[in-house]
Amino acid sequence: MLSITINNLHFPNPFLLASGILDESADTMFRIIKHGAGGVVTKSIGMKKRGGYQNPVIYELPYGLINAMGLPNPGIEAFGEEMKKLKNCGVPVIGSIFGGTTDEFVYLAKKMENYGADAVELNLSCPHAKGYGMEIGVNPNLVAEIVGEVKKSVSIPVWCKLTPNVTDIVEIAKAADKADALVMINTLKAMAIDIEAQRPVLSNTYGGLSGPCVKPVGLRAVYDVFKEVDKPIIGVGGVCSWTDALEYFMAGASAVQIGTAIATKGPTIFAEISRDVADWLKKHGYDSIKDVVGVAHR
């Protein structure tokens, strides 16, 4: 009832771990899988080791989080050890990567393929790391080039993660023409100021907004792109409950990723959402989650 196939990859359920949340080490990802995730996306990995920004890197709001981790990661060479441990973990492992040039993306994607990743997710959307992510992801030509070159270099599916911080996300989605699936959205450009300190809270000043408060924006991105682009969409942004997930499916997502909600609900959220979505499907006479994908379009 919940199992799905995207780009010939079989997912036991459509609730995946989002990149950057509890996925820097294989052991943690294993634990999330045990809690029922249908797949995991790794932390975005780059060419070299990066410590990320100085604390504070996160700011809690009643309705979400602002983060500026700064893409910390041990670098693609060291990450091989984690990927090796994930072999036979039972669900697809999607290797997320970020680069500063097309060549870097190609190199990283090949590495991930060699490490056994089932797919690669291009992070073209991190809103707070200079020269990476979003600075690339807002430019349709760069997006087309990177996706095209990575596609030529690997035989695993290539997912492209889009930023909502653009005038027209449909334009970028179309530029990612060669991608096998689209993942949206990454975080919204944001910041917070502490009035007593009279300064920005994050050491990086800027950060990305995630959690419940971005769901209406993510939903609209998925809905818009579903209308115009014929490709699987993975919805991400503020999925905190089974109703949030169903909204994304009905807007056109074939799967969803879950990040920030793990802070508030814990890793058990995966099993809970699976159970509750399955219950809803049964009660409404649906045989498969696939049957509700895009039903809100009419």
Binding site: G20, D27, K43, G51, P56, L65, N73, T260, I262, A263
Partner: protein, 251 residues
């Protein structure tokens, strides 16, 4: 969102350790921690070391952040968020509490909450012993690496001696990880329940970033206090930690 608290009192505990007293109406359990922000400098985790009308952090100076904190005085402000994490589960049975260095900061409110506890306070030398006079109604044992006061040797060695003499229903520990590892091993071998509070590099403090994880356990959200069942699964305990990039490094 941070709360701003005013420092009401500063106490020099040892040459390298100061305590900071403040008022805050959160309600932490012994073993829980806060993220403390010094604007313009750093943000880092701190255990609550006293839970009364005045709350307390007890801080060892080891780097820029803690040095900046040591410069603060009565009337200065701290930015805090929390309490976070899972604290100690108290017991009614006779307990042994083993604290090394600033580990005593984490254990102090627990010791005060326990009915029947013996305490080992350990440090490199006499000068660095923390809170030796804070528990007048408990049996307090002292251990120093250099023997400058009390038992000469590691806290774990003294703990083994005490454990073999008296039937403890629970052992609690916090301190340098090799010490923790030794005590956990002693307890596992003797099948005595044990709870240990661990430290890892923390960024978010709320269980999303994976920077503090040890064998898949998030120290910030699943811990910092873990029990023997979990500790037994931690192949990295006392051996490996992760640096801010997530790279595994030797302890």
């Amino acid at each position: 969102m941070y709360r701003v608290v005013r420092i009401e009192k500063v106490v020099q505990e040892t040459p390298s350790i100061k305590s900071f007293y403040f008022v805050d109406n959160s309600n932490p359990a012994p073993g829980q921690f806060y993220m403390v922000w010094i604007p313009g400098v750093d943000e880092f985790p701190m255990s609550i070391s006293a839970i009364d009308d005045l709350k307390r952090f007890t801080v060892k100076k080891i780097g820029d952040g803690t040095a900046a904190m040591h410069n603060l005085q009565e009337g200065d402000r701290l930015w805090i968020r929390g309490p976070y994490g899972r604290g100690f589960k108290p017991t009614d049975e006779p307990a042994l509490v083993v604290g090394g260095g600033t580990g005593m900061a984490t254990l102090a409110p627990l010791i005060n909450a326990l009915r029947d506890a013996d305490v080992i306070i350990a440090a490199r030398n006499e000068k660095e012993l923390l809170f030796v006079d804070e528990f007048p109604d408990k049996e307090v044992h002292i251990a120093t690496d250099d023997g400058s006061r009390g038992f000469k040797g590691f806290a774990s060695e003294l703990a083994a001696v005490l454990i073999d003499k008296k039937e403890y229903g629970m052992v609690y520990t916090c301190g340098p990880e090799p010490m923790i590892k030794a005590i956990v091993d002693i307890c596992l071998a003797r099948k005595i329940p044990v709870q240990a509070s661990l430290e890892r590099f923390m960024k978010c403090g709320i269980g999303v970033c994976d920077s503090c994880s040890i064998n898949g356990f998030r120290v910030c959200a699943d811990g910092p206090v873990f029990s023997e069942k979990e500790l037994a699964q931690m192949t990295e305990l006392g051996k490996w930690k992760r640096d801010p990039s997530g790279m595994k490094v030797k302890i």
